[in-house]
């Protein structure tokens, strides 16, 4: 059970990189938006997903 708890503890981080990151990238491509600093959509998505996921993991809440 402790392994499962640890896995779910990091769930927001995993959700951030495995779901939010590609979601952000694909929304940008669909809307033809450019990422800042010459980043690719996926790089930008990974930054957003990682940061949001880490914050949610630390705080225990997304909002």
């Amino acid at each position: 059970m402790s392994v499962v708890k640890s896995f779910f503890f990091f769930g927001p981080f995993l959700f951030g990189i495995a779901f939010l990151a590609p979601l952000v990238a694909q929304v940008m491509l669909r809307l033809d938006l450019n990422a800042p600093f010459s980043l690719s959509p996926l790089q930008f998505g990974l930054i957003i997903g990682t940061v949001l996921g880490l914050i949610a993991t630390y705080r225990g809440k997304w909002i």
């Binding site: 059970m1 495995a18 779901f19 669909r30 809440k61």
Partner: protein, 285 residues
């Protein structure tokens, strides 16, 4: 009239509304999930626009709980009967879009019936709120990663109960949650993140908000009293009975959980005089 004879009369009336297979709920449960599954190839192949798929998926997932709720109570077929497998099939199948396993839903829901409005023992107590906006906020707050309410509360209680049934329900919940996020991630990494978000992830959140509001908060509000005739109520919904998922008559369900959802309005009308004598909160219904 004594309390015992009143109870006997109440039961005699309620018995008129029990028994038989509630085919409406069976049809609803089977077709609802089938439609939700059909959305994926329809949207992926471009036959259906994503915005339409999103609307239908939101309706599907919102409507996915109630057929399983009848199955949780073995209304579709009694436990131990030849058709129990059919009851379980409908219960499991209808809940797929919501990613709430039947055994998890059943065991926690039965405890809710036993201990409705008890802050420590009612698994659904975390939906209690002071008003509609607060109720919506509570359901969102309960879904945060380390929230103490909502499905996290189910997990805590399942660990506390420590029975074989609770362990099975907990395992189901772990597998279900892992599969849900695993499938979302697989779809996203395959280039279908927007489709996954709009056919499953966001509709599920909207559905859980609705379900928590209308199926848990509204029928129990203010939720301060306990006991057979006090722990829930009848109420007039601004959305009407159908759009509030039949919850205007939730008091009937708590009194007689084996009455199918679609028969609770008629049962309510028949039982109303007795409920008034019992001092139930009927909200002028």
């Amino acid at each position: 009239m004594t309390s015992q004879s009143l109870r006997a009369r109440e039961k005699a009336i309620a018995d008129q509304f029990t028994g038989g297979i509630p085919w409406l709920m069976v049809f609803w449960g089977i077709t609802n999930t089938a439609i939700w599954f059909a959305l994926w190839p329809l949207v992926f192949t471009g036959i259906m626009p994503l915005w339409l798929g999103f609307i239908i998926a939101t309706i599907n997932i919102t409507a996915s709980y109630l057929p399983s709720h009848d199955a949780q109570h073995y209304i579709i077929a009694p436990k131990g009967s030849k058709l129990e497998w059919f009851n379980e099939l409908v219960g499991h199948w209808s809940l797929i879009p919501l990613t709430l396993p039947l055994r998890t839903a059943r065991i926690t829901h039965m405890e809710h019936h036993k201990h409705a409005n008890d802050p420590l023992l009612d698994p659904d107590y975390s939906t209690h709120a002071t008003g509609p906006l607060h109720a919506i906020w509570k359901t969102i707050a309960n879904r945060q990663p380390r929230a103490e309410g909502g499905f996290n509360r189910y997990g805590q209680l399942l660990q506390q109960w420590d029975s074989p049934a609770a362990k099975s329900a907990l395992n189901d919940a772990i597998v279900s949650k892992t599969l849900f996020f695993g499938i979302l991630a697989a779809l996203a990494l395959s280039g279908y993140a927007i489709e996954a978000a709009l056919l499953w992830w966001l509709p599920r959140h909207l559905a859980l908000t609705y379900i928590s509001f209308y199926l848990s908060w509204a029928p129990h509000h203010p939720g301060v009293e306990k006991g057979r005739y006090k722990d829930t109520r009848a109420f007039k919904s601004r959305m009407g009975n159908i759009w509030s998922s039949g919850m205007q008559y939730h008091i009937i369900h708590h009194l007689y959980p084996t009455i199918p959802l679609n028969k609770t309005p008629a049962a309510y009308r028949a039982l109303r005089p007795i409920l008034l004598e019992r001092g139930c909160n009927l909200d002028n219904m």
